[in-house]
Amino acid sequence: MDRIKDIPSAGRNKVRRGKRWVSRDYTLFAAACMGLAFLLVFAYVPMAGIIIAFKDDSLYFNIFDVIKYGGFVGFANFAEFFRDQKFWDVMANTLGLNLLMLLINFPAPIIFALLLNEILHSGYKKAVQTLSIFPHFISWVVFGGIVIALADMTTGIFNPVMYFFGIGSRDDPVNLLTAKYFWPLIITISMIKGVGWGSVIYLAAITNTSPELYEAAQLDGADRFKRALYITLPSIAPTVTVFLLLNISGLLSNNFEQFYVLQNPANTSRSEVLATYIYQTGMIERKYAYTTAMGFFESTIGIILMLSANAVSKKIANRGLFG
């Protein structure tokens, strides 16, 4: 994914066939067209559906009627959510949490990979890696269910552990699923579930680094810390850049299920993010135009963030998502 745009391709075709199409060209073209046809239906048609965002949906309950008969209202739907205090609360949660996660959860796998790389026993290393990846493959429904179990105020283990460290009192157990603790909770469990898997790609990049570099550095008297800082880190920098850019472009996005399973009325003030709010307004309250407008806003900001982060990265590091 280093250069996303440059879908890697094999060496140049030796036989230049010019502009004429031969039968194998038709085969390849047809296959690529099948992929495109799929995207046309399942990606580009919904994009055309953004038109709903500019329509008046107040008169129709059926969404097809909104598309067919609804009058154009310009940016009125956008203005509606811009004026809505609830929307800004949701935005504050989304941006606040995602920025915090960028600060904490983004570097964590890098550090984890660096530490894992320093392990001398390959068996131990493999065991740590295999076990740490496991939570990634468990669904958020299950993982959220387990978190709720661990946090349970009578049967869970979170409170007893806190007592053990002398925090809190038995008469007043902490309910982790309330608004006050939601952010630390979600950051911690995202870390537990994601850090192992996140480190896989960095560890692979580290393994690809030429051993001669390390040997040369050692001859020059660089200790382990210096080698990590001056050889390992620069060698994974391209991978880090790509993931940083992807993270920045996703500043308004969240994993819906992760939030949905842990949401309850006692924490929505801190746990409602754009992903869940869009579900709430679209599927539950059935405000189609309002929701489509919000989705469009999210997508647009996402692509603007991606392009500008990419431009900055190209300027500073001479390296971007697209080469």
């Binding site: 890697p8 390849l28 399942f42 953004i50 076990l131 387990i146 692979a204």
Partner: protein, 298 residues
């Protein structure tokens, strides 16, 4: 001289420093925190429900019982959800892999006409979309709402997997392709009989990702179906058990007296992750292989 240079990964251990001890212990603690939650739930699932409510069951049950499992497996809906999930996981993953790898093969060929255009059209969809409502309208318009096909058809193709798979194909030597062409093989033939067998690792990785994704899917059931018997999946069923204790056991009251909705939901969680637990040790190397193959090119 050379033998005094310590290689990066020494075969023999060369004496651990303080940092090593701290590092080993720290990583062990990390793994402990990652794995312990599953142990906690496992202990709860084998616990007598009433005893469990007293708290303090953290590692092993105080009062052992199989009642939680007896209750959950006696719910017919669990098996319906299990069956549907297995069908989705098997059929959905295989179909998606076949279709996506076919497109990936074409996209990996440099001589593909209009390749730049195809690449751009694919990539754009990774960063921009219509959003929930337009997609929901589309699903309804296509008549997929509340049908099993909603799990299969919209998931047939994934741009991300296409990139990973075509990365795998491009890693193969171009001479292979040339010699096959000279032997008179068509492109489909080359893809099926040469490229596919040689890219087993990448295929296995993407297939595993797809299978895990299908097994864990919850959102699609919630949004695009009514959750009836024809479409209910394991995760959706599980959500009901965890949140609303919505299960209908068909066992006697004697067993029911030994359980609570909490301990039953733990048993349901274990039943749901059992297949993942079972295949993970054997396949874990494949889970990571594709990342290395597809992502570190260029």
């Amino acid at each position: 001289m050379a033998k005094y240079i310590t290689s990066r990964r020494p075969k023999k251990l060369r004496g651990m420093k303080a940092f090593d001890y701290v590092n080993y212990i720290f990583l062990a603690l990390c793994v402990l925190i990652m794995i312990y939650p599953f142990v906690f739930v496992l202990a709860g699932s084998f616990s007598d429900g009433n005893d469990y409510m007293g708290g303090g069951v953290w590692l092993v049950p105080r009062v052992w019982t199989l009642a939680n499992y007896q209750v959950i497996v006696s719910d017919n809906m669990l098996w319906i959800a299990y069956k549907n999930t297995i069908i989705r996981t098997a059929a959905g993953s295989l179909l998606s892999l076949s279709f996506t790898s076919l497109v990936a093969y074409a996209m990996s060929r440099r001589e593909l006409k209009f390749r730049r255009f195809f690449q751009a059209a694919n990539l754009f969809t990774m960063f921009f979309g219509g959003g929930l409502i337009p997609y929901f309208v589309l699903i309804n318009f296509l008549g997929l709402f509340d049908t099993f096909w909603v799990y299969i058809i919209p998931a047939l193709y994934s741009v991300y997997n296409m990139i990973i798979l075509s990365g795998g194909y491009s890693a193969l030597s171009e001479e292979l392709h040339d010699s096959a062409v000279i032997d008179g093989a068509g492109e489909l033939r080359i893809w099926i009989s040469i490229y596919m067998p040689l890219s087993k690792a990448v295929h296995a990785t993407v297939l595993l990702w797809l299978m895990v994704g299908n097994w864990n899917a919850y959102y699609s059931t919630m949004i695009y179906t009514r959750g009836g018997e024809n479409v209910i999946l394991l995760q959706y069923y599980l959500m009901g058990v965890i949140n609303k204790a919505s299960y209908t056991p068909s066992v006697g009251g004697e067993i029911l007296e030994k359980v609570t909705s909490k301990t039953v939901s733990y048993a349901a969680i274990i039943v749901a992750i059992l297949p993942v637990l079972f295949v993970y040790p054997f396949l874990s190397k494949y889970f990571t292989k594709g990342v290395t193959v597809g992502s570190l090119k260029g």
